[in-house]
């Protein structure tokens, strides 16, 4: 079991992730979002990693709870480290995510990853236990 910290005073739980792209590896913060079907990154962060639409495996459309639809794209991230787990060749979608950036993050850690982890969250203590 490993323990990871988050700030319970933030409006959303942020976790540290490391992603590798054509321009190298970057560490950044993602919102742990069990309601997001897939892991998503802001287009700005994707560009920083060296990905753009030319690298896309397919087009993607994000559909929010109100039905709003936004076009983005999917790329394959060769290495993705988060919460002590390592994922290889992970599909990650890119969208404009100003609302996420406004909360100090660069994307969403979605259910595709969260569902693979055995997690225990202690909100008041800002503690995530990963078994």
């Amino acid at each position: 079991m490993r323990e990871f910290l988050f700030d319970p005073n933030q409006p959303a739980p942020l976790v540290r992730a490391v992603l590798s792209g054509p321009k190298g590896a970057f560490r950044l913060r993602l919102i742990l979002d069990t309601g997001a079907h897939t892991t998503q990154l802001s287009k700005a962060a994707m560009h920083c990693l060296g990905f753009n639409e030319d690298n896309r495996t397919r087009e993607a459309y994000s559909i929010g709870v109100g039905g709003a639809r936004e076009k983005g794209f999917e790329v394959i991230v060769s290495r993705f480290f988060v919460l002590g787990a390592k994922f290889q060749d992970l599909p990650v979608c890119a969208f404009n995510m100003k609302y996420v950036e406004d909360e100090g993050a660069d994307g969403l850690l979605g259910w595709d990853i969260v569902s693979q982890l055995h997690l225990e969250m202690n909100g008041p203590k800002g503690l995530l236990k990963v078994f």
Partner: protein, 89 residues
């Protein structure tokens, strides 16, 4: 760009409410924040920060970090909760 590696406390003191790009960054895997790094560039404006990121040559042990608590507008609540993704060609 700063030539010296700053501690997170120094970064927080000097760049509060800014986006910073750190190189040679120490960020314990279990931690919320980095513990130290070289500030490569910084901006309060995310659009400007993104523009600078676009000109970036690869660094090493790099991190993108917002420093401090984001300012909260009590009249705005972001609803993430549920989002799905559909794929096209």
């Amino acid at each position: 760009m700063e030539n010296r590696k700053l501690t997170w406390e120094q970064i927080r003191s000097e760049y509060d409410q800014e986006w910073v790009l750190l190189d040679n960054c120490d960020w314990p895997e279990e931690g919320i924040d980095p513990s130290a790094g070289l500030v490569r560039f910084h901006s309060k404006d995310r659009a400007e920060f993104d523009r600078l990121l676009g000109t970036l040559a690869p660094g090493f042990d790099s991190a993108i970090v917002f420093v401090g608590q984001p300012e909260r507008n009590s009249r705005v609540v972001t609803t993430r909760g549920y989002s799905r993704v559909e794929f096209g060609n």
